[in-house]
Amino acid sequence: MNGQLILREWKEKFEIPLFALAFLLIFVVAALALAEQGDVLDILTGSILLVFLPMTAVLLGASAFIVEFKDGAWAYLFSRPVKKAVIWFSKFAALLMLLAGTLFVYYLVLSRVPGVRERIVEFRIPLVSGETFSLWGVCLTLSLSLFVIAFSLSCFSDKQIQDIFLSILVFAGFGLAFASVMKEILYWNPDFTFLIPVMWSLVAISVGASSLVAFGRTDFSQPGAKIVGFLKSIVLFLAMSAVVVWAAIGIGARFRRITHIGLETSGRNAYIYLSRGLYRFDSERDSLKRLDGAPWLGWGGDISVGGGKVVWSHYSLVKKNGVRDEAQELWIIDEDENKRSIFRSSDVQIGPLSGHYLFNYCLSRDGRRIVFLSQPPGGQDSRILWSLNSDGSGLKNYNIGIPNLGSMYCLGWTADNKHVILNVWEKPPKDKSPQRRWLCKYSLESGAWQEFGENAWMSYLFGLSPKGDKFGAGFPLPAAQLPPPQGPSSPYGGRPELLSVYDLETLARTDIIQSSSFTIARWDPSGAKIAYLSNGGTRLGIYSIAEGKILSETALGPALKYFVDKSLTWAADGQKVALSDLEGSRYILRIFSENLKQDKIYPIPRGETLKTCPDVYGLGQKVLVFDFQSDRLWVFDLAKEKWRKLF
């Protein structure tokens, strides 16, 4: 930049900000006089910030080269020993400083005028896709954008008024196009709100850079060449900006934090559903395979495995018949890894699922049928059960006749693939009495249901046996009218409790262990044994269903009082028990033999940084350790005693 050029520019254009500041004085006097008339002050403040200051900006910008073109002084200026880029930058900097100074004085003064100050702070203007922006933010954006556009165009026009109108037109054109693009992008992914200032800045930079390039390169003696040069440059820069944004989104997506959506195990495989896609970890081959990429801009979802198949769902936005809608898609991969979409909720917009929120997909054990729940529009506590063949046909809903049914959740299929086990809640009582909950065996063929497990808990931490013939749950002792406990942090911690197992054929209940404060229980892969943590997580035991007795029990270290600090799983095909546990301030993996005698301890990688207990999943000779807080997944090889980070 050239100081003399800046100084010359200031001397030449100082009247414009001076006029604006004189106007400010008038406005302040008017604002003070009209302080009581809120509506008038609203209009005045809005006019100043959204019309007057942006017009001052466009006037300043449009004045940049007007003298040079009007008097033919461009030839004089260009023949001086100073680069055209320096001329451009000097003028730009000089005028921008004048504008910035004007805006700054306005801000200083207006933020001290009672009535105006509050309006500036409180006014929020809704713009792109419902986002709201402060009055000052919009004023600054408008003013700077118009200034850049007017300045850029002033290089090519010798008529100031023409430049002013053209700048407003260009601004409106870019603004509308930009708003449309951003609305589209934000509709697909609201996370990209940050792109609004980035992309608008790129538009302004593109206009400015095009002006600079055309100013330096084109022949100013030929008006047509100037315009063509400018248009060529602006197309190029806008295209480059689009590529930069697109690449940034793509690269950003690769490096953004992985979010785990779900993890299901089946035999030796684990199916890991991440924000990046669906993966299968084969514990025997120790290999990780990506089965499907995550849909761009998709979110949410569910995963379920059964019969060698895996179904997963995600939300995406679709456009059908010109109408955009949120759709949930359900996909399936069969044993041969053939992938297909079996269901898209938007396809049934006019059907029975219109407007329903779908969740809790559950694949049958033979992989032939899927049940899921839906929440109808407006039915906050209402759930409807549906089923669907795995080829997408046979959509059916079930009118469960349970009286006073509030909510429910499907826990899985029974061994015969004809019934599902539901966790059921009654509608929330209007008085303060505890909400009743129980388990339900529901026949998908006859629609008949059988209630069991009144007040059962640990349905998720124990639940269905691997074969689907039994169901384990916990019960308080005595079965008093108490709200369900919440583990060791519960005020009922330390109370006597029962672990019970239901035969799902007869629904006969067998109380197997009596202790206090069970925190978790796990079926072994054969369904013959149960590993459990009792006494608030301070005792580990193994119970044999066949023998009907506790095989072994051992004391663990102290447990945290208010947080679950242990997770439990069977490992080595039911030969060992793996436990994530807190030792001092770090989490460790403890491996127990079946008789709970031997105990090997392996520090979990970065275990000292974990604030919550990681979940563990036994998978053949491997143990998966999932830190759901920071979405990290490790695999521990029991034979090699080595860790490997999967994600």
Binding site: N2, Q4, R8, K11, E12, V67, D71, G72, A73, W74, A75, Y76, F78, S79, R80, P81, V82, K83, K84, A85, V86, G216, R217, D219, F220, S221, Q222, G224
Partner: protein
């Protein structure tokens, strides 16, 4: 003498109109180059290309041995330019403008500028917009000369000057600059003025330089010849260097450049009853060159 500026094959078109076709010439320090051409021949275009105001379509300009690019700026510190029309910032005062202009030039001679202002009668405190055309031209002259340029390009600036000022300008300033080693490229339509100062002549026609010679050589070699015949005039023979021929009953008038013995013998071969040969003024030479007909081959020294 070494070349200060060399132009090779310069071409420039505006749309479909080709203004400069293939312009080549060289300038040496300390010489005043009279640059002649009819209106619209591209003198101003050439000046603007040399100053990097507009780009050339093709060709090369070498200044002090260095090829110059359109975007380059540093070389302009050594080039002064006085345009045909004044285009200064009207709101500035004379001295304010000169200071502003001087800030671009490392060799700016403020003392000389003050002296020149005084000699030319320029009021340093006057607003530029209040100056007459002649005064603005004086200001342009001071702005150009104050930079102590190695090359001064004058694009027909003297037409608005009164006679005494023009005389002072040509004798006192241009000649003085040339004597100090500045090369002056002086484009003007007031051809007779060049006779006082020009060392060299460049004539631009049809987008090419058709004459590039020392002025004294041109002056010495250009002749007008008048021939009288008894009866009808014969057909003018193919004499090389014929710039102009006019024939009427029993009389032929021709301008020939260059004049030499072979030309004289050829003309005498027509057996005129009477023959007059006279030297020409610069204006007559210029008219002889650009008066009519297509562009002629380049004549260089």
């Amino acid at each position: 003498m070494s070349e200060l500026l060399k132009v090779r094959g310069l071409g420039k078109s505006f749309g479909r109109k080709r203004v400069l076709e293939d312009v080549s010439f060289a300038l040496e320090p300390g010489r005043v180059y009279g640059f002649l051409g009819r209106n619209g021949e591209g003198k101003t275009t050439l000046a603007r290309i040399l100053l990097g105001v507009i780009p050339a379509d093709r060709g090369e300009v070498v200044f002090k041995g260095e090829p110059i690019r359109f975007k380059a700026a540093a070389y302009k510190r050594e080039i002064g330019y006085i345009p045909e029309d004044s285009f200064f910032y009207g709101w500035m005062k004379v001295m304010e403008f000169l200071r502003f202009n001087g800030s671009f030039y490392p060799k700016w001679d403020a003392d000389r500028v003050r002296v020149l202002c005084s000699n030319l009668g320029l009021d340093p405190k006057a607003r530029i917009r209040t100056l007459s055309r002649g005064e603005k031209l004086k200001l342009g002259l001071v702005a150009a000369v104050g930079a102590a340029p190695d090359l001064l390009i004058l694009d027909d600036p003297t037409s608005g000057l009164d006679v005494p000022t023009r005389h002072d300008f040509l004798r006192g300033v241009i000649r003085d600059l040339a004597d100090r080693g500045t090369a002056v490229l002086f484009a003007t339509h007031m051809v007779h003025e060049l006779e006082r100062v020009a060392d060299h002549l460049l004539i631009l026609q049809g987008g090419r330089i058709i004459l590039d010679r020392r002025f004294d050589e041109v002056k010495a070699s250009a002749r007008r010849v008048r021939l009288w015949f008894d009866g009808g005039a014969p057909e003018w023979p193919r004499i090389e260097g014929t710039l102009f021929v006019e024939s009427e009953a029993g009389r032929i008038e021709a301008v020939v450049y260059p004049w030499n013995g072979a030309v004289e013998d050829g003309i005498k071969g027509l057996a005129p009853t009477r023959m007059e040969v006279e030297t020409l003024s610069l204006e007559e030479i210029f008219v002889g060159f650009v008066g009519s007909g297509p562009a002629r081959p380049v004549a260089r020294s």
